[in-house]
């Protein structure tokens, strides 16, 4: 009985410490006025060439199909990064594309200066103020008989 008690006690203590840390860390950020957001970038190849239905596009494809006249949408890359605002980050979108984001909180939105590069060429540079969970659709560069679309969202 004593041996069992001595084994379980430290385990419980570690678990309590771990849970405490998990609950406490976000509170520290809030107390310091920091805002943490998850930036989510979907690089999509839109074209009329048949492509398999990709479950990772479930939350955006039905919307894209209402905006654009492309028949098929293929996910080239999904990149995410956790940002403590204000901050800057560089996302590697694969296929030679990168995204530079300089984001800060503003009036309940995330204001972000976004630069989309192909190698060293700046394809698109913009400044947006987005609500969390509301994606912005960037796009236009030609790619393999179709067009690239970048869905950018802060959560």
């Amino acid at each position: 009985m004593l041996a069992k008690h001595s084994h379980t006690q430290p385990r419980k203590r570690w678990l309590a410490l771990w849970l405490g840390l998990v609950l406490w860390l976000p509170l520290v950020g809030v107390a310091n006025g920091q805002t943490t957001v998850n930036v989510d970038a979907l690089l999509i190849h839109a074209s009329d060439r048949p492509a398999a239905l990709d479950a990772r596009l479930d939350r955006v494809e039905y919307r894209l199909r209402r905006i654009f006249q492309f028949e098929h949408y293929a996910l080239l890359n999904n990149t995410q990064s956790l940002l403590t605002l204000p901050s800057q980050t560089r996302l590697d979108l694969g296929h030679g594309y990168t995204l530079h984001i300089n984001a800060a909180p503003r009036n309940g939105r995330v204001r972000a200066e976004v630069q989309w590069y192909q190698g060293r060429t700046r394809l698109l540079s913009t400044s947006v103020a987005q609500r969390r969970g509301v994606p912005a659709i960037l796009g236009g560069p030609a790619y393999q008989g179709g067009t690239l679309i970048l869905v950018l969202e802060f959560n």
Binding site: L53, D58, Y62, I67, Q69, A129, A136
Partner: protein, 170 residues
């Protein structure tokens, strides 16, 4: 006013987003800068082109069926996650509670990532605001528009070599 600012105001004016006072200021500036008048004409033509080639609101049967499949899959996903709670026994006490919290957090997170299909347009107050757009691509033009069916903001680059693809843009 510098040309970049004037172009930004011009874009806002075309979207009826420029206050009257600034619009007057812009008109005065345009009188001295014919190249911007030309740019305004190009943007107006581009807008008309986009409106002409706007996608039909009706979906193809195949696309509609994909939406149905997607909706079914998303409805089933949280149920499957909930089902994993059942094998846990109450006698596990705090461990069961902690596991339940983690699973619920997982379901909540999953729902955040995969909301069920919401075909309503995004509320006006929640729509993305665009301050400016630039591109370094040669002979390219940038444009911003708000899709009325979804409420999403589209920031688009039109290049001379992708005219065919741009016909797909709403």
């Amino acid at each position: 006013m510098n040309p970049e600012k004037a172009a930004r105001w011009l874009s806002m004016a075309l979207d009826n987003e420029l206050p009257e006072a600034r619009r007057t200021q812009l008109e005065r500036y345009l009188e001295q800068h014919p190249e911007l008048v030309q740019l305004r004409q190009q943007w107006q033509q581009l807008g008309e082109h986009c409106r002409r080639t706007a996608p039909a609101p009706d979906q193809t049967p195949a696309a509609a069926w994909q939406d149905v499949q997607r909706a079914l899959r998303q409805q089933n996903a949280p149920r499957e996650a909930h089902a994993t709670i059942l094998p846990l026994r109450p006698r596990w006490g705090w461990l069961a509670a902690a596991a339940a919290v983690l699973i619920m957090a997982g379901v909540w997170g999953w729902n955040l990532r995969s909301p069920s299909l919401d075909l309503r347009p995004i509320a006006l107050a929640d729509r993305t605001q665009v301050e400016w757009v630039e591109t370094d691509l040669p002979d390219a033009m940038s444009m911003v528009y708000e899709d009325s069916t979804t409420g999403l903001t589209v920031i688009w680059v039109m290049t001379s070599d992708n005219g065919e693809e741009d016909e797909h843009a709403g």
